[in-house]
Amino acid sequence: MTSSISKFVRSEKREGYYDRLVTDLTGLNDRLNAFSVIDGNMKVGFPLSVKDNLCVKGFECTASSKILRGYIPPFSATVVERALNAGFSFLGKTRMDEFGFGTFGINNDKPVRNPFDERRVAGGSSAGSAVATSIMKYHVSLAESTGGSISAPAAFCGVVGFTPTYGLLSRYGLIDYANSLDKVGVMGRSSQDVRYLFDKVKGYDRRDSTSVDSALKSRETKNLMIVEELLDKVEDRVKTRFLGFLDRLKGNGYSVESVSAKDLEHSIAAYYIISMAEASTNLAKYCGFKYGLKVDDFTKGYNDFFSEARASFGAEAKRRILLGTFVRGKSVRSRYYSRATKIRRAVINRLKALTKKGLLISPTMPVLTPTFEEVEKLTPVQNYAMDILTVPPNLAGMPHVSFPYDYLNGLPLGAQAVSDHFDDYTLLDFVSEWEKGFRYEFKYNLGDL
């Protein structure tokens, strides 16, 4: 199966193709809120959308936060630069949960809606990127995941969401959430599209000291593993479908082994402590002083000045700044932050040992795509618990991919596969195999040729 990218590039486009795409997209976006910026000037190339926490030179970049409104970066993220050099064309910036803080795409000015059912959430935080991928026939997106921000919306929107090994995609030009966890990734309508873009943007960047160049492996493996304790967290109707999916995989020649890894349950707590601690330092710079939202009254005392600007953070951002600042405190540091880093180490060791033997597989999300009302009823802790399946590989910096395997009540169901560090191609090959016998379903196909 060749990627739709090469097909698109070879094809003759009708006159006014791009203008019509932009018009149709703008119309649909008014309902779905996937884009915060649509660049109407696009005339050539394969359409590329970019999550709003990645800088594109000359375009407003806010990470969907009020406090960054008006910030126009004077430079582009390395991954954006590389994609544009490879012939992709910038279509627009996609809406997200503010700074990446969310699982449903609702912590922002306009909640992102699911194209399969607009009463339901799109998933987050890369909500707009997933929706954009789900509604356009020829399109890929640069997204980002800290704790599951690619997998979750990819699952709810029925697209492929690939989060590579930490460091493979440069973070230069990414507005930081948690630097040791942030991973730029790719969304597309097939593993081939994803792989095509991934290959164009990956590799070492001298402007990001944590970026790496590494020979990527592809091992052929027929061994799949499910972690019992994690599967127990999945609601029944989703679990039933997932077990059916496993049966089909077995039919395709895979073995499925059930393993126990109780310690992975601690990964949610460790993840939130580390990510909030880092986020609270990253968000310190936003103070209405030099860019983004500006406080007009320069006669104020420093503290009042800073406080006024920082009042414009959303509720979830404020919660994470407070908690993150708390866990860094001298008196409690060893109780929270230091223990969290030990758990992270243990999770890495556990996952490495498991993925040596094959791929881990699970549903991506423990629930069927929730409605906005259902999400509003969740407490913060219930909300964070939704990440139980996506957090472990993210905490370990391991590559993982979410892809659709079935549809239930007209809603896509996503599965997530995890492999060892730098085993990225193994995952994409695995999805590619699955795609041979699977038919993707989409509600919209804007920009069809």
């Binding site: 990645l54 800088c55 970049c61 990470a63 960054l68 910030y71 970066p73 004077p74 430079f75 993220a77 973070r171 230069y172 030009g173 990414l174 507005i175 930081d176 630097n179 040791s180 001298r206 402007r207 990001d208 000291s209 944590t210 601690a277 880092e278 609270s280 330092t281 310190a284 710079k285 103070c287 002083f289 030099k290 860019y291 983004g292 320069f298 420093y302 503290n303 800073f306 600042t325 860094r328 405190g329 001298k330 932050y337």
Partner: protein, 428 residues
Amino acid sequence: MKIGLETHVLLPTKTKLFCSDAVAVEQPNSSVCPVCMGLPGSKPVLNKEAVAIAVKISASLNCRINNKISFVRKVYFYPDLPKNFQITQLEEPVGEKGFVQIRGKKIRIRRIQIEEDPASIIREKDYTLVDFNRSGAPLVEIVTEPDIGNEEELRDFYTELNSLLYYVGVDIEKEVKSDLNLSVAEERVEVKNVTGINNLLGAARYEAARQTAVIKSGESVRLETRSYDEKSRTTKVSREKETEEEYGFLYETDLTNYDTDWALVQPVRPASLIAQEWAGEYNVPENRIREAIMFNKEALSLLDHGRNLYGFGEMLAVIRLLKQADIMNVTSEGFGRLVSAVKNGASPDKTTLEKYLRGVEIPDAGTVDESEILSEIKKVLEKDKSIKEKYKKNPNIVNFVVGEVSKGKNVDRKALAKLVKKEIEDLL
């Protein structure tokens, strides 16, 4: 009395600590980029040259050098800090557990860490400006144990430290500032940002007296931060601190761990130690040698080169003469000629010193251009019209004119004599 110093030193690198902007640029906010302005999306990249210099300083202060160094964020809100955190070091600083040897005592060095400088704040009457040129400039902070016991030790330590830094290549004239921690009893007081030994001594003297007076009056010294006022030579409270500050240190994970083994070099040998050795070896007062070499690379090298060729006392005398005349870049041959001349009883002034050195390799900075010389000659001949007549009888009168014209100038007297002769002959 116990004194500990935290000294900040600007490292002599071409570029800033985490970006490629130049350090020390005049025009405000002209040497800035997304990184040192802390723009969202930018990332720091460590300047290896700064690490190399910091390793050299640490080695020269007898520190244990950590094989791996890492960085942390020190979080506090202030307008001079573009990210509202400073990238510095905590658990794996470049150097630890060193010492500086002063006369008869070791002052222990607790740690030496690399960190970025904040921007500079310019306070005007009705407003405040921020210049980000300094933001991200590479510093090391050198922290001592509270081992300094009195003013004399403070002076000795400061001189010794500065001499070592000078030999590492730091511009100590403008790039060294210290925080002084002083206690006469239990609580310590920190006096921030003191520059120069005279101010340090002034601050220490005042603080010691003030704290003693507080205790005598039956009260106890409060833990606080003070600043030193150079004009009134007193310290005043800038901030009371009930507890140690809470900075919420966190690993800087945009940076990784860095090896230091590639940067290991020969430490600087203290000039004071060399002075001590030479004093014994050549029977010259140690202080005279110290005076010559503590802050003078050229002198150290000339002495080292000539010490088995010439008399040490004469060499020191010549170095003092050169220093008084503000002459630099002396070749060892020129130096040798000077030493012989001084040995033979000469007591040369600047002009003569330069004469001795001339033809070897001295800079042309002092030479005067020819047209100026010509007009000077003409002036002299105009003033005393009898000269040309006298010349007929005694051509040596030329030397008188040469003397008049060359006063205070660095000119070749032979060439000048030729010019004068030509001018006089033209008049005849």
